[in-house]
């Protein structure tokens, strides 16, 4: 499994999935945000707009990159959806980004946005 391909415009977390969303960090707050249907940004990945082909991916990425005044380094991330159309993040790095660190109850988990991602050997 490849880890990260970095090129000037995007970071693609390569895993076998057709479904992707876009994530970035908020310019002012620095925290993790996700690109929504209304081309706005949400702190909750459940609100993210899903794309399922390369053309849509590039279009969406371009749209996200237009918002340089609000966000930093938008990139595509693999997701899956279940029967209830609920998004789940596939890579453990993205799960951490969505919850917060595992050593203190800080970050999104503190605000109660996402579930706490478990600790090793806890």
């Amino acid at each position: 499994m490849r880890l990260v391909i970095y090129c000037k415009r995007e970071i693609i977390m390569a895993k076998k999935s057709n479904l992707k969303i876009i994530t970035a960090n908020d310019l002012v707050e620095g925290d993790v945000i996700y690109f929504t249907q209304s081309f706005d940004w949400s702190r909750n990945y459940a609100d993210a707009l899903i794309v399922n082909n390369e053309e849509q991916e590039l279009q969406l990425l371009e749209k996200a990159q237009e918002q340089q005044g609000r966000v930093i380094f938008p990139y595509l991330v693999d997701v899956a959806i279940d029967g209830q159309q609920e998004i789940s993040l596939l890579h453990f790095r993205e799960k951490f980004r969505s919850s917060g660190p595992s050593n203190y109850f800080h970050g999104k988990q503190e605000i109660g946005k996402q579930e706490n991602f478990g600790q090793v050997g806890a």
């Binding site: 917060g100 660190p101 050593n103 050997g121």
Partner: protein, 556 residues
């Protein structure tokens, strides 16, 4: 210690206002992120996984109580009530917000601190021996040289946009506590046959993707030639260092690819030219700097209480045995305060703890503190008579773990819990190891062993030079940990050797246990430390223990 004067203060304030305007320009679109990024990095502001991170410079790891107190206040006011001390003697705040950064920088400026050049492709914080000026094994105090280099490298016009970061470390002792051979330039203060003071200059050390032990560029450089010589090295590097590949851009690669002899030639040629044009600092300025690092006004007091306490209080005696180092004044001691409580995050201190340390330093420690690259805090000048009361105060603040140098005194980078570059977490592994050996009550029995954990190949946890190094990677979508053995972080610096395939997060702790089992079994007695046994027996017996047991199917 060095006291900033008006010039230093003005420089920092001006820099804050410059950065504030850069932030405004970024927010207004005058600067793109690509343009803003190197500027914010040069002012110590990173973007991590969950938030911005501000890395505050603590020049050669030295600070006073007022500064420590301010760091505590900043943690409370603009962060989450704690700070993280790093392997380069700096402090990091993990939860900064861009709009708050100018205020934080001004608050730092109030105590003559800053975050300048703690990141970016420039000359970074010059690190040094955390026992400098106090250690009994010192040839000379390296900090005046470190301070000279700090001033020299601050906003240097020519070297602000190097191919990559540039790290300088200096030691004044042959017992190298600054790991100089892991730096781009390493300096060892020494005396030649005539007794003149000068430096051995080492170049091209580095950890990370391609670890290299630094090589000797100059056996002896006269003291007065330090700046022009460093300038020559930097100029050669600036012009010839690779700019096509971020992972091949450090001077260690330039030395490796060009050859040490050729680089020596180029540096010496450049140095000869520099000598003609270089306007050296005046003797007066040098003397002024050196005067700031004079010895503390030693006190005299009765040490009966201390002796009695050592005899009667086992915990105190343990603390003395592990956490105290020899001071050049026989009535004094160097105290290492461990930031490695069992089960806690290595290198983290709460604001409350920082204030306690500040108070102790002010009252009992000649107002001086140090940060060690091993992520602990040092009180370098403590009269022995004060040790009992200091121990009590530390205990109250949960700062009295007597584990310096033991297996739970682990160095760990923040890893994937915080860092955007990480491939795996390091903090939980550190916690698990510490907890396990405390549970087994084996810490004291095992004695000195240095475990260092990095959460990715950039090796900020210095795993290459750990007796046991652990590198967190990823395999098949989950965290996977490789072990290296036999690394050493001193003048005989050695890069650890990989044992073989990595271990899952469930298997890494039992793997470390097996290594320690082997050590305890094979050692010639308690006096033989882990690293000594490894050097005597080699990899085989350890890798057999790791891989030939029933755990074979768990090994990734």
């Amino acid at each position: 210690m060095y006291i900033y004067n008006q010039f230093d203060t003005d420089f920092i304030r001006q820099r804050v206002s410059q950065f504030s305007s850069q932030v405004e320009k970024r927010l207004s679109g005058s600067l793109s992120e690509d343009e803003f990024k190197p500027l914010r990095l040069m002012n110590g502001l990173y973007l991590q996984l969950h938030a911005y991170m501000l890395r505050v410079a603590i020049p050669y790891g030295t600070l006073n109580s007022a500064q420590m107190r301010q760091l505590a206040d900043i943690a409370d006011k603009w962060d989450k009530g704690y700070g993280h001390f790093t392997t380069r003697q700096n402090i990091q705040y993990n939860w900064s917000k861009l709009k708050d950064v100018p205020d934080i920088l001004n608050s730092l400026a109030d105590v003559n601190m800053h975050a300048i050049q703690t990141s970016g492709n420039c000359i970074r914080n010059v690190t040094s021996d955390h026992f400098a000026g106090a250690a009994s094994d010192e040839v000379a105090d390296p900090r005046p040289s470190a301070e000279l280099l700090r001033q020299y490298s601050s906003d240097h016009s020519e070297f602000g946009f190097l191919p990559r970061k540039f790290k300088i470390a200096i030691t004044g002792s042959n017992n190298d506590r600054a790991v100089i051979k892991s730096n781009d330039i390493g300096l060892r203060l020494m005396r030649n046959e005539n007794g003149d003071l000068g430096y051995q200059v080492i170049v091209g050390g580095g950890l990370g993707r391609s670890p290299f032990v630094g090589k000797t560029l100059r056996e002896f450089l006269p003291k007065a030639d330090l700046l022009p010589y460093v300038e020559a090295v930097l100029q050669v590097y600036n012009l010839a260092g690779r700019r096509d590949n971020k992972y091949k851009a450090r001077i260690k690669i330039l030395v490796h690819e060009t050859g040490l002899d050729k680089i020596k030639q180029q540096v010496e040629t450049c140095f000869e030219k520099q000598k003609k044009f270089f306007k050296r600092p005046s003797d007066e300025l040098i003397a002024q700097i050196e005067a700031r690092f004079s010895l503390p006004a030693y006190i005299d007091a009765d040490v009966e209480d201390y002796k009695n306490e050592k005899q009667n209080n086992a915990a105190f005696a343990q603390f003395i045995e592990n956490n105290i180092s020899k001071h050049k004044n026989p009535n004094y001691a160097i105290v290492t305060v461990s930031l490695k409580n069992i089960g806690s995050t290595p290198g983290d201190a709460t604001s409350k703890q920082m204030r306690v340390l500040a108070d102790i330093a002010k009252q009992f420690g000649h107002d001086e503190l140090r940060v060690s690259h091993e992520q602990n805090i040092i009180l370098p000048h403590v009269h022995k008579s004060h040790l009992p009361v200091i121990y009590k105060l530390l205990k109250q603040a949960d700062l009295a773990s007597a584990n310096v140098g033991l297996i739970s005194d682990i160095i760990a980078c923040p890893g994937m819990d915080y860092c955007a570059l990480a491939t795996a977490r390091s903090i939980p592994i550190a916690k698990d190891i510490a907890k396990r050996f405390e549970e087994l009550k084996l810490e004291k029995e095992i004695g000195n062993v240095q475990i260092k954990i990095s959460g990715c190949i950039n090796a900020c946890g210095h795993h290459h030079v750990g007796h046991i190094g652990i590198l967190g990677l990823e395999k098949s979508g989950v965290e996977n940990y490789q072990i290296t053995l036999g690394g050493e972080a001193n003048l005989n610096m050695n890069i650890g050797e990989r044992t073989g395939p990595g271990f899952s997060s469930e298997e890494i702790l039992p793997a470390v246990e097996r290594l320690i089992e082997v050590y305890l079994l094979k050692r010639k007695g308690k006096k033989e430390s882990f690293i000594e046994v490894y050097k005597r027996l080699g990899m085989k017996v350890f890798s057999e223990a790791l891989y030939n047991k029933k755990g074979q199917e768990n090994v990734a």
